[in-house]
Amino acid sequence: MSQTVATPAPPARDERLGRRSALARLLARPEMGALVGAIVIYIVFFIVAAPFREATSLSTVLYQSSTYGIVAVAVALLMIGGEFDLSAGVAVTSSALVASMFSYQFTANMWVGVVVSLVVALAIGFVNGYLVVKTAIPSFLVTLGTFFMLRGLNLAMTKQVTGNVATNDVSNIDGFGSAQNVFASQFTVGGVSIRITLLWWILFVAVATWVLLRTRVGNWIYAVGGSAPSSRAVGVPVNRVKIGLFMAVSFLCWFTGMHTLFAFNTVQSGLGVGNEFIYIVAAVVGGCLLTGGYGSAIGAAIGAFIFGMAQLGIVYAGWNPDWFYFFLGALLLGAILLNTYIRRRAEASR
């Protein structure tokens, strides 16, 4: 790529560069190791699990992955920017609860609830980010606090408002249909039903990738995660970038919350606990550095796909459910080892 410099100098090869195959160059990208891991796991299940071979199964796996993957994209950006958000899992539920309860209690059009919920979600993200940058407390701790608080609020507010731990069915409220079309519809392609979340997922990954690699903000995200003091010193608005990232996570949490609401009509207030973890796992399996400054949105998507595939593949294969977590762990560890091995090889031979 650096060969495009248009100097009149002869394009002679620098004698200080060894040869490096195109394959090795490709494999050295952050997400490629994860991709190979995903392919291997896919092949394994393709061989051992007959039902897994069908297109409908792939569609189910992709759907499952997309519900993790959408938030995982934002979590990956945040991680590249050097921060965590442990409240992401319950924030999904919070969004769904707010939209559902608002529209139901005020008998408002569903879209009003959706917008109110968006505002609330962005506010949560802003508070997370603001606390992190202003107090300089590690985001792990700040969002742990908000995680607990949201978890409590979800339950307490729901019980307060509905007298129950789940919201009422909102499928009769005006605007439900159109909102469902946007957030939770499905359509059939060649006999296989595809969930709309898959398309949204692809869109979010594409946008995130473009932002990361082709915009100024993307440059800043890598920079604040790679070294916040250096970034500040050269004039990157570190605080604004970080707050923005927290709000991006909130935004995709809100989106996933809307999907949950419109796919299932009601929301249980206890849901979402533990998912923050899966998002982080997806990002890290996909090649993001836990310490920030390195990673990709596509990688996080592949990580989510690996996780979803392992989770459902074990079921498709009909393996002993008692061993479920053992297999899940072994598959993840295997994928990561493979990922690392490939990256190592690619780097050595590049």
């Binding site: 790529m1 650096s2 495009t4 410099v5 248009a6 100097t7 620098d14 200080r16 560069l17 082709r214 915009t215 100024r216 440059n219 800043w220 890598y222 920079a223 790679g226 070294s227 003091p229 250096s230 970034s231 500040r232 010193a233 050269v234 004039g235 990157v236 608005p237 550095l289 400054g293 390195y294």
Partner: protein
Amino acid sequence: MTTTTEAPAKTPLVRLTACDKSYGNIIALGGISLEVDAGEVTCVLGDNGAGKSTLIKIIAGLHKPSHGSYEVDGVPVTFDSPREALERGIATVYQDLAVVPLMPVWRNFFLGNEVRKRLGPVRRLDIDFMRKTTKKELLDMGIDLRDVDQPIGTLSGGERQCVAISRAVYFGAKVLILDEPTAALGVKQSGVVLKYIVQARERGLGVIFITHNPHHAYPVGDRFLLLKRGKAIGYYSKDEITRDELTAQMAGGAELDELHHELQRGGKAAAEAAHVLEEEVQELGITHEPTAGS
């Protein structure tokens, strides 16, 4: 008001008055004043730990002075972040370089000053331009990079320093601050940096130049601020001080001399060291008589 041909009192680009700075209970700087005029090179000299970097971090907006005032173009300022200083055209090469190790060289070069082109309603990075410019600017410093996409953390110490310098030179608009820019540089690269400093002065920039090398400082400097243990021990314009006096002051002449004598009294090894040291001392132009202070 009528026909005085006297030039109006020039406002300096940057003026610090009686600035203090402490880190917790550690007092790094006490009561420093400094002026930087357009088209002038101010050298800040001093021992290790004298407070030079702390001083320029205040000017660059990285720290706020604990006391004292800071004016830019005659207007008092308090910078909350280096971004504000950069926006006023103050570009800095930090001693720790302030690069992001995992990022490619060209992204580091343009970090915070990204060049973009419109693409319909959105603006995207002009990656081609930035790559080429980085490659070219570094070539001008005598650094022929294999690959501008290499993470900057994998460059050699001197190469990294060259990136930081050429970045500051490229973006510096009004004031250019260089904290030991030549520390890790080869002879040729050092020459280029000196050339840059002179060019910047010619273009009317104010330059603050920190170095431990009097051979580098004296030829290009117009004023010299000498620091010791956080205090100013001298502030001269070029015509007030000779090169020898300057070097003597920098080296803490008297002390170095004493070290030399002490070694001569020692055994064989010490004597040889003394010999080397003597050479060193002579090179620095220190006469064996205690130098006269200014």
